[in-house]
Symmetry: C2
Subunit: 457 residues, 2 copies
C-alpha cells in the first residue's frame, strides 16, 4: 500500500479524546542536602538521539567503592547491557563504583557487536576514576533503553563518556536532574526522588531516578547464576548508607517484587529492564555495614525504606505511562497466598477491557470480575465470597460494587464521580485468606494507540 | 466531573484512523442442501435488546434426540447458563434435543435469580417438542451473551420461546441465518458456515454459527465434575452424523483447543464462553455411531473435520473482532511441547505493543521478540536459534526479520507491503523441537478503544 493510500485510509475517520494533561507537576526541585553523599553525576547529549538539545547519556560515579546489587529482566532475550552488568556484578563480588546509561538505543538483539559495545561503555566509564580499580576488575554497571535491534553509535557514546571525568560531574540538584533527564525516552518528565531516613539515630540519604513509559510490565530477578548468561524499565537507587553486598541484593529483590514488579503500563515485558542500587557508606565512615545476618532489625528498617522508596519511583513510571490519563491502584486482599493475590492484581491491571473502561470512565465491574475469575490459582475462588469496591483517592467514602458475589444497586452518579477522578483504587477482596498484593496501572487511551502505532515512523 | 466537562475534555484532541472496512463479505448465502438434516430453528426479537428489528433469541431443535457435548469457560465466575448447561449435559448422559440462546444480557453474576431464569429458559424450550422427553429430563442447552450483572427480562424471553413451536421453525438458509443473527452483540455480520464431509463413502453435513467481537480470549474445557457447580464467545455446531456422546465430547475438546482456545481479540476471558455440538444421526438411520473405542480411523476423520470446521468458525470471530483492521495468524514452530508453542503464540497475540504495531503497519519485530522471550517455558529458549518472519497471505515470498537471533537487514518497503495487507502471518521458529501451535488475532485500533470506552454509555 502506498504512503498516500495509507494516509487516506487513516484520515477517513476520527476519534476524539480527553487531552493528556501535563504531568510536569510530578517533577520539582529537591534541596541539594537531601541527596546522598559521595556521588558525582551528569547527563549530556552524546548524539544517540538526533535532536541536539536532548540528553541521552548519564554517568554516575561513587567516590569510593560501593556495595552494588541489581535486578534484571527475566526475558529470555536479554539485551547486551543486561548480560554485561550481570557479569560485572558477579565478578566484582557485589561491589561497583559507577553506572553508565544511554537512552535512544536499547542495544538489544545486537549480537556480538552489542556485547562489545556494552563492554566498551563499561571500560570507558571505569577509566574515568582517578584511581584504578584494585585487581583490574570492571566496576561499572551499564544500562541502555530505546529501539531494539539497532547497534549503538558507539563512537559518539565513548566520546561522550570520555568528556565526563569527575571534574565535569556534580553533586547538586542540577547534576542529578541532568542525569535523570538522560534516562528518558517517551517519558514526559524526569523521574527523580530523594529522601532521608534514620537507623538508630544515624541519618542516611536515598536518591533514585527511573524511566519507563512503554513496554512496562517488569518481571525482574536477581542476577542469574553464571553460565546462564544470555539478556525497559531502567532505574537506579543510590544511598550513602553502608550495606553489605549480599544484604543489599536481598533487600533489593524484596523491594523490586513489591514495586517495579507490581506495575504495568501495557503488559509487555522488556528485554532491558534493570534496577541497580549502590550503597557507598559515605555518610557513615567507620560504621558497621547494615547486614541481615548480624542485625536483622537494622536490616529490616533499611529494607522497608528501600521498598517504599522503590514503590514511589515505580509509581512515577505508571503516572507517566504512554497515553495514561489515570493512575489506578489495584488491591487484591484476602488471598490464600501473596502469589495468588499478585497474579489477580496483575491480570486486572493488564486487562484491555478494564483499562478501556477506566479511560471511558465506566464503572464496569463485570470486566474486573471476569479478569479476576480468569486466573488459575492455588486455591479455587469462591464467587459468593468476593467483594469489589472503588476507593476514591480524595478520602471520601468507598463505593461497593459487588458484595458476596452479588451486584449492588450502584449509585451511577457516585460511581461516575469516583471514576472521573485521576486517581482511584480498585479493591477486590477474595475472602480466602490473609495475603494481599497491590499493583499500579493506568488506563488505555487513543493516545496509547497513537504512540505505539506510530513509534518508528 | 460533570458530563459537560467530560465531553469538553474528550473533544480537546482528535485522533485520525483507518476506517474499519465493511466485513459483510464474510457472510454469504449457503445452499439449503448443505445444512444438516433433522434440525429446525429460528431467530426472533424477543425484547432483550431495545431496537425492535434486532434479533435476540434463537431456538434450535433436533427432531430426534442427539448426542450432545460442550466446552465451557474455565472462568471462576461462570454465568448461570454455563452452570445450567453443564448440569443438563451431565444429567442427560450426553444427550439433548435443543439449544436456546439469547443475546443482549449475559445472565452472569445474577445470583439465584439468574439460575432460576436459566432453568426457566431450558424448561420452556423443552416444552416446545411434540413428544415429551423420556424420564422428564431436561434436554435443552442454554447460552446467553451481553452485559454482565443484569438479570434477564425473563417474561419477554419466555413469551418469545413459547412463540416458537416446531411449526414456527424452519430448516432452510433463511432460518439458519435468523438463528445466527440472534447470537450477535457487537458482531458486524452473522457467523454461519456449513459443509459436507464423507466417512467411508457416507456423506454427512456440518453447520455452525458463533459470535464474538469482544472479551475474546477463550479457555474452555469439558464440563466440570458435578459438585463444582457453581458467564463471551458462543457457538454451536450441528451435524447429522451419528456420534457416540463420549466420542463427541472427546472430539470437541480436541477441536476447541485448536480453534476457539487459540483465538484472541483482547486477551480477556469471558464468564459465558460456550461451544455446544449436537450430532443427531439424521443422515444415517440405522448406521453405527462413530465411536472412538470401536473405530479409531472413522473417529479421527470426524475429529479432523470438526477441528477444521471449528477453526473456520473461530477465525470468523477474529475477523470481526472489535475494531479489527487486520487478521493475523501467529505460528510458533520448533517448540519442545505444544503447550510451550501455544503459550508463546498466545502471548504474541495478546501483546498490546505487537497489536498496535500491526495497526500502525510497523514491522516492529523487536516487540514480537520481547513478547516471545517473556513466556516461562518448560525448556529455556536459546535466542541464537530463533527465527522470525512475516508470511504474506497473497502467496508471495516470506520476509525474514530475524535469523538465528540476529536481525536481518530488512527491506523496509517490502516489510511495509506485507504488513499493509489485511491478512498476514507472523512465524516464530524456536529451533528446540518439533511441536507447533497456531493462534489467530487482530490488531489494536482507536476503534477498539472507542467501542470499549463507551460500551455502556
Amino acid at each position: 500500500m502506498s504512503q498516500w493510500s495509507k494516509m487516506a485510509k487513516r484520515l477517513s475517520s476520527t476519534y476524539t479524546s480527553k487531552s493528556i494533561p501535563s504531568k510536569s507537576h510530578f517533577h520539582a526541585p529537591i534541596p541539594d542536602n537531601v541527596f546522598p553523599k559521595g556521588y558525582l553525576l551528569n547527563g549530556i547529549h552524546a548524539g544517540v538521539k538526533k535532536k541536539p538539545e536532548v540528553l541521552d547519556l548519564a554517568v554516575i560515579l561513587s567516590q569510593k567503592p560501593a556495595a552494588a546489587a541489581a535486578c534484571f529482566t527475566r526475558n529470555a532475550f536479554k539485551a547486551a547491557p543486561v548480560v554485561v552488568s550481570q557479569q560485572v556484578l558477579q565478578e566484582g563480588g557485589g561491589r561497583a563504583r559507577g553506572i553508565v546509561v544511554n537512552s535512544g538505543c536499547a542495544n538489544a538483539v545486537t549480537g556480538s557487536q552489542g556485547m562489545q559495545d556494552a563492554w566498551a561503555m563499561v571500560r570507558a566509564t571505569d577509566a574515568l576514576h582517578e584511581t584504578p580499580a584494585s585487581g583490574g576488575l570492571s566496576e561499572t554497571l551499564v544500562m541502555s533503553t530505546g529501539v531494539i535491534g539497532q547497534t549503538l553509535p558507539i563512537d559518539k557514546i565513548l566520546t561522550g563518556i570520555k568528556s565526563l571525568p569527575p571534574a565535569r560531574l556534580g553533586s547538586n540538584f542540577a547534576s542529578w536532574e541532568r542525569a535523570a533527564r538522560a534516562f528518558m525516552t517517551t517519558d514526559t518528565f524526569p523521574k527523580l526522588r530523594a529522601r532521608t531516613f534514620t537507623i538508630r539515630g544515624k541519618e542516611y540519604r536515598l536518591a533514585g531516578m527511573d524511566k519507563g513509559a512503554g513496554m512496562i510490565h517488569p518481571d525482574m530477578g536477581p542476577p542469574a547464576p553464571a553460565g546462564q548468561l544470555h539478556a525497559t524499565l531502567l532505574g537506579c537507587i543510590l544511598t550513602d548508607a553502608p550495606v553489605a553486598p549480599r544484604s543489599l541484593q536481598s533487600a533489593l529483590t524484596y523491594a523490586v517484587e513489591r514495586s517495579f514488579n507490581s506495575i504495568s503500563v501495557d503488559g509487555d515485558m522488556s528485554t532491558n529492564d534493570t534496577i541497580v542500587v549502590l550503597a557507598n557508606g559515605a555518610a557513615a565512615e567507620g560504621q558497621p555495614e547494615i547486614d541481615e545476618a548480624k542485625d536483622k532489625e537494622g536490616f529490616e528498617i533499611f529494607r522497608e525504606e528501600l521498598t517504599s522508596f522503590a514503590a514511589e519511583l515505580a509509581q512515577l513510571v505508571v503516572r507517566d505511562g504512554e497515553g495514561a490519563t489515570k493512575f489506578v491502584t489495584v488491591s487484591v486482599e484476602g488471598a490464600k497466598s501473596y502469589a495468588d493475590a499478585h497474579k489477580i492484581a496483575s491480570r486486572i491491571s493488564t486487562s484491555a477491557l478494564v483499562k478501556t473502561a477506566l479511560f471511558g470512565e465506566d464503572a464496569n465491574w463485570g470486566r474486573i470480575l471476569a479478569a479476576t475469575g480468569s486466573v488459575p490459582l492455588s486455591a479455587p475462588l469462591d464467587p459468593t465470597r468476593v467483594n469489589v469496591s472503588f476507593i476514591p483517592a480524595d478520602g471520601t467514602a468507598p463505593l461497593a460494587l459487588l458484595v458476596n458475589g452479588e451486584p449492588e444497586k450502584v449509585d451511577e452518579a457516585r460511581a461516575s464521580e469516583i471514576i472521573g477522578q485521576d486517581d482511584l483504587e480498585i479493591r477486590v477482596e477474595l475472602g480466602l485468606g490473609n495475603e494481599s498484593a497491590k499493583y499500579w496501572t493506568c488506563d488505555f487511551s487513543y493516545e496509547y494507540v497513537r504512540i505505539n502505532g506510530d513509534y518508528r515512523t
